[in-house]
């Protein structure tokens, strides 16, 4: 027993993380490598695969539905993330003060991001309903025309962005709120004595102080927005037609509705490099700024 424990102590450095490393190898690294092999097969699930080399990748690049997916993925992300950053900053500044019930309010802010995405998607789907949904009732009450929301090919992505903004702006706000709380009050005191206006204080004290937090929020949100699945699949399943079919949803349908495992794997490799590439790029921007 003593000997065993000595052996463990000498090798603790790699024995402690060993089980998790094995799990990561089997659960994560293995499947990613397998994806490369699968992507080189023509493989209908249930039938034997046959090797086709890089043909699936060539097919993807020539597939209009692939490019539609790329376009929708970027459209969704580029619309959602900036709105979330601006609103999140506004909300963070608004709530960065002492007021009664602050702890309770913090809990409320957490709810949209922890609630089960499927439940959220269902409720928004009911609210979007063009004839019975409550959102059209609000529009009419304000004297505005009714909208088709997710039933319209033109409005479906902005409508889904609305859900994503509702769900994730609170996280941006909380990240920035934590950063705002870290700015020493004396900074503003000094600025006031020097006769700075409120806008100047914001521009020259607040923004520079929380810039790294803003970039963290930008990175986290961009990566997750590129991968959004639950909300889109439950509310529209990529429809109407393919108007809201992101790369993620297209790859899912290819694999699990059309059962083309090889083609799906090649799409997923594109998606993986897209997400990781953007993550690395944003991280470089972040360290460059420092």
């Amino acid at each position: 027993m003593r000997r065993a424990s000595n052996f463990f102590d000498r090798n603790a450095k790699w024995l402690f993380p060993l089980p998790a490393m094995l799990a990561i190898m089997v659960l994560i690294v293995g499947p990613v490598l397998a994806n490369f092999a699968i992507s080189m097969q023509s493989w209908f699930i249930g039938l034997p695969p046959s090797f086709v080399g890089l043909q699936n990748f060539g097919d993807a690049l020539a597939d209009r539905r692939f490019w539609n997916g790329v376009r929708n993925t970027f459209y969704f992300t580029l619309l959602a993330v900036p709105i979330q950053l601006v609103l999140g900053l506004g909300i963070a500044i608004l709530f960065n003060r002492e007021f009664p019930g602050k702890g309770f309010v913090r809990t409320i802010i957490l709810l949209p991001m922890v609630a089960t995405p499927v439940a959220i998607a269902l409720i928004w789907a009911l609210m979007f309903n063009p004839s019975l949904g409550v959102l059209n009732y609000f529009l009419e009450s304000l004297g505005l025309p009714r909208s088709l929301w997710v039933a319209s090919a033109d409005l479906v992505i902005p409508s889904l962005v609305l859900v994503d903004v509702w769900q994730w702006t609170p996280m941006v706000a909380l990240i920035l709120l934590a950063a705002l709380a870290g700015i020493p009050g004396e900074f503003y005191e000094a600025a006031r004595i020097d006769g700075a206006t409120g806008f100047q204080a914001f521009r020259f004290i607040t923004l520079p102080s929380i810039r790294s937090a803003i970039i963290v929020a930008l990175i986290l949100r961009s990566i997750d927005a590129l991968k959004t699945f639950d909300i889109i699949y439950v509310i529209t399943a990529g429809g109407p037609g393919t108007a809201s079919e992101t790369l993620n949803v297209f790859a899912f349908k290819t694999g699990f509705e059309f059962f083309r495992a090889g083609y799906s794997a090649s799409l997923l490799i594109f998606l993986m490099f897209l997400v990781l590439g953007i993550a690395i790029m944003l991280n470089l921007i972040r360290s460059g700024r420092r």
Partner: protein, 293 residues
């Protein structure tokens, strides 16, 4: 005698803003701020409020072209969902998978997180971050093919293993910051007393990090409970968890608004209750440690 006078003075200065324009502007601005805060909170809460209203309304009231705001609440929808849709079975499936994947996540993740914190294994931390950044769907095609070949689709094992991909990195990431805060002197004292590294980990480090472990476990549980993508493909009639069951609910054509509302409330309720327990750690978990709670 001087105290009542002081009180009167304070009250007097409180009343003065009506005449003092500067103070009056300040009051108005404060009122505006609170109003704006209230609007933000109402927008955040509205979908939940609507979810609850929908769940308590009859189908007739739910399909009225003008929303019915006041009505006699009915629990009919809840009764239907629970009785006619095997909701309790799905809840049990969700619970089993969440509990198993959280348990395995702790067993594998706690020593790894300790090791990363104590031996500064940043490469390993980076590997876990990359695993978190990679789209989950990337793992799904190989997983499905493998489980299908092994006859493991629609088993708790398949769901637990895939949910582990979600939970374990979360646990590791949260626990790194907890373990970093354990004073190294305590561990060294234990070594001097002849304790082994493993013994020190179990008897000194873990007890000190108990609150963090609970937070990490609850967060992993919530994420497994909420997981949709893996369960959608890998579950079946024997293991279907609640989110997939509720999703199938809408695929069957006719929309039962009240039933959907009731199901949505029932899935969300446990998550909300757990959130109240660990709210401090949610943002840390969601941001992979970018924000400390």
């Amino acid at each position: 005698m001087s105290r009542p006078a002081a009180t009167t003075g304070a009250r007097g200065s409180e009343r003065r803003p009506v005449r003092d324009p500067a103070l009056r502007t300040k009051r108005l601005r404060q009122l505006g701020t609170y109003l704006l805060m209230a609007i933000v909170l109402i927008i955040m809460l509205f979908p939940f409020y609507w979810m609850i209203l929908t769940s308590l309304r009859s189908q007739v009231a739910n399909t009225s072209p003008v929303p019915v705001w006041f009505f006699e609440p009915t629990f009919e929808n809840y009764r239907n969902v629970i009785r006619e849709n095997d909701f309790l079975d799905y809840t049990w499936n969700s619970f089993v998978v969440a509990a198993l994947s959280t348990g395995f996540g702790l067993v594998l993740g706690l020593p790894a997180a300790y090791s990363i914190a104590r031996f500064k294994q940043n490469g390993l931390a980076l590997a876990i971050l990359i695993a978190r950044l990679t789209p989950y769907i990337t793992y799904l095609v190989p997983w499905y093919l493998a489980f299908r070949a092994l006859g493991l689709v629609d088993t708790y094992l398949a769901l637990t293993l895939t949910h582990l991909i979600v939970g374990m990195p979360l646990i590791i990431w949260i626990m790194i910051s907890f373990f970093e805060e354990v004073p190294i002197e305590l561990e060294e004292a234990a070594y001097v007393d002849g304790a082994s590294k493993l013994g020190t980990f179990f008897r000194v480090v873990l007890p000190l990090s108990a609150p963090g472990t609970v937070a990490a476990a609850i967060l992993a549980f919530i994420f497994s409970w909420n997981q949709f993508l893996f369960s959608l493909v890998l579950s079946g009639p024997n293991t279907r968890p609640v989110p997939v069951a509720v999703f199938n609910f809408i695929s069957y054509g006719q929309i039962d608004f009240g039933g959907l509302g009731a199901a949505a409330v029932l899935i969300t309720l446990p998550v909300v209750l757990l959130t109240l327990v660990i709210q401090r750690w949610i943002v840390t978990g969601l941001t992979m440690g970018a924000v400390k709670g």
